[in-house]
């Protein structure tokens, strides 16, 4: 079996332009040996799902600081199912009230990391989640 690095797609849906968190997390995941594809700002659910298909990613992370996490996460997950990517783990992160965590999980998010979560927790989670889905993939570079 050929080993390859974990491929993570990070996306920002809608007009929310707070990109510091997702940018720093991308850099940290790269340090941890993962390959990160960042869509940039102002994506729609369609462009996010299109990129996920094109890039053959192992996990998708959506970042929200605008309060629109419920609406957009649902739209992205529904579209993923439509396109046959229903098993792609979807992480949600950013600023959101605690009571929305169960709602996001009900919609289909695999995990929710709110602001100020230690980076190591996120890295460990991604490694585990991806290993479960595709055991041949590794986070160690080279």
């Amino acid at each position: 079996m050929l080993e390859r690095r974990i491929r993570v797609l990070f996306g920002k849906v809608g007009l929310d332009s707070h990109y510091r968190g997702v940018q720093v997390l991308s850099m940290m995941l790269r340090d941890a040996g993962m390959e990160v594809i960042y869509t940039g700002l102002f994506q729609t659910p369609e462009t996010i799902v299109h990129t996920a298909l094109q890039e053959d990613v192992d996990i998708l992370g959506l970042s929200f600081l605008s309060g629109e996490h419920l609406v957009y996460t649902e739209q992205v997950i529904n579209l993923l199912k439509e396109k046959g990517l229903g098993d792609l783990p979807v992480l949600v992160g950013g600023v959101m009230p605690k009571e929305d965590i169960p709602k996001l999980k009900e919609i289909g998010a695999c995990e929710v990391f709110r602001a100020d979560t230690p980076m190591d927790d996120i890295i460990n989670y991604i490694e585990e989640a991806v290993k479960e889905r595709s055991p041949e993939i590794t986070s160690v570079s080279n």
Binding site: G14, L15, D16, S17, Y19, R20, Q23, V24, M27, M28, L41, F42, T44, S66, G67, E68, V71, Y72, V95, M96, P97, K98, E99, R114, A115, D116, P118, M119, D120
Partner: protein, 550 residues
Amino acid sequence: MTEGKGLVDEYFEKPKWTRTWSRIPVKSVYRASDLMDADYEQDVNDPGEYPFTRGIFSEMYRGRLWTRREVSGHSSPAASNRRLKYLMEQGVTGLNIIGDLPTQLIIDSDHPFAVNEVGVQGTPLATLDDMMILTQGIPMDEVSFTFSAFTPVMAFYIAAAKKRGISPGKLRGTIINDTIHYRYCFGYKFPLDLGVRLGVDSIGYSINHMPLWYPFSVECYDLREHGIDAVQELAFGFAIAFCLIDECVKKGYQVDDIASKIAFTMGVHIDIFEEAAKFRAARRFWAKTLKEKYGATSNKALHFKFHSNTSGCQTVRQQPLNNIIRIAYSALAAVMGGTQSMQTVSFDEPIALPTEESARIAVRTQQILAYETGVTRVADPLGGSYYVENLTNEIENRTSDLLAKIDDMGGILKAIETQWIDNQLAEAAYNYQKEVESGDRIIVGRNAFIISEKEERKTKVHKKDNRSIKSHMTKLQKVREKRDKKKLRNAIDKLYEKSKSGEENLIPGMVEAALAHATIGEIMGTIRLAYGYSYDPFGMIETPFEGMEQ
């Protein structure tokens, strides 16, 4: 640190980090010998005296307290109007409205991309009609009004005043209007040539017509929130301001007039002495540069005028009530640094939009500071401190060096175009995160003194008011249908021509378009087209005005 260590270790605990939070090395004690070279009159001087290190007014807060200005704005102009009146009852002395994301992005509430974001982060201001509702029952010729928004909103405010028979000359307040820093806060690349034009024209119009209005506030706060340090905050902010001054001079305006119109929106963090020193350094550097380099002479131009905003990114989600303490210390730093105006963020900032309760606590934080602590009694209480004077010098020197570097690059516009600034911001955010993750920077509740999620208190969360937003959308639809199409088209055509010529000031044309009920997106889109850019920054819609297509 506490975890896994014995009581003896804790008893002898020493702080691990000994530099300032901006990583400036400091000694364990400062003495008179550290200030041997200083000349009091030349370098420090009394409050109200050049170079204004100790404050821009001789009496400081004894003469006038700082403006307590809490930000508000959500759902709809009508709901925001109610919140403004509530805040006025609670004792705020300045009004501060933030536009929702579509308003900040200068697109309409019914733009296909805006649908989910209307009224979420602020209030929608899509037309003059929205501005009329927002300011209903508020004496526009008496209050001081601040907008976190851009030039078309200034046009709406002027138009609303005109409609009520109030001269623009009576309007007091500030609009952020910093279209140069724009891309670092709102994400899309607002064209820099257009950004400069709007800045210059806003300043020019205000010089001639709005003596009480600050048409441009350099947005240092947004830049600082990326993770940069106090020195970078000052240097990047000054670079933007000096660029504007240069451009205004090219247009024939006088330096004294221009500099009088430029204010700053500063971040304020928790490193008390560093932040206070930052403001002292900023005042001196601004005054000296304006006088020595630009030849300004009036005090109003030499005064570094600023509003401060306690840092939002420094609030912590875990154990959120602790943020009240963080915000109070930051507010203390701003006041000891001589701020003219302040917004204290709400303790629930990292969780959701503020509730009425958290917004009230934010106001109370400032009131306790103003009325109970006694900090207002004496101007510049830290002046003469060996440490603070030294740190003031250090921050000023470092700022000057960094500005020289930006100058060598060809100025701030070049530093932006080449993405040098982008890299500075990314690097700063990354380094900060590393320091937090490694525990070098202790953040209580975040990487030290943690409690379990179960023990975390349930926080009341502000809810989006969908009914109010829906009513705003219906009103916008009605405005579009009812407006006089001929008058609108006429105003839009004139605005297009004026934008294209590059000569005349754009503000009167924008006000005329506003009075003809043009929307924010139509006003901005028309100017964009005249400059050769797409009507819509997202390329999703075309101009509704026939014959004006690209």
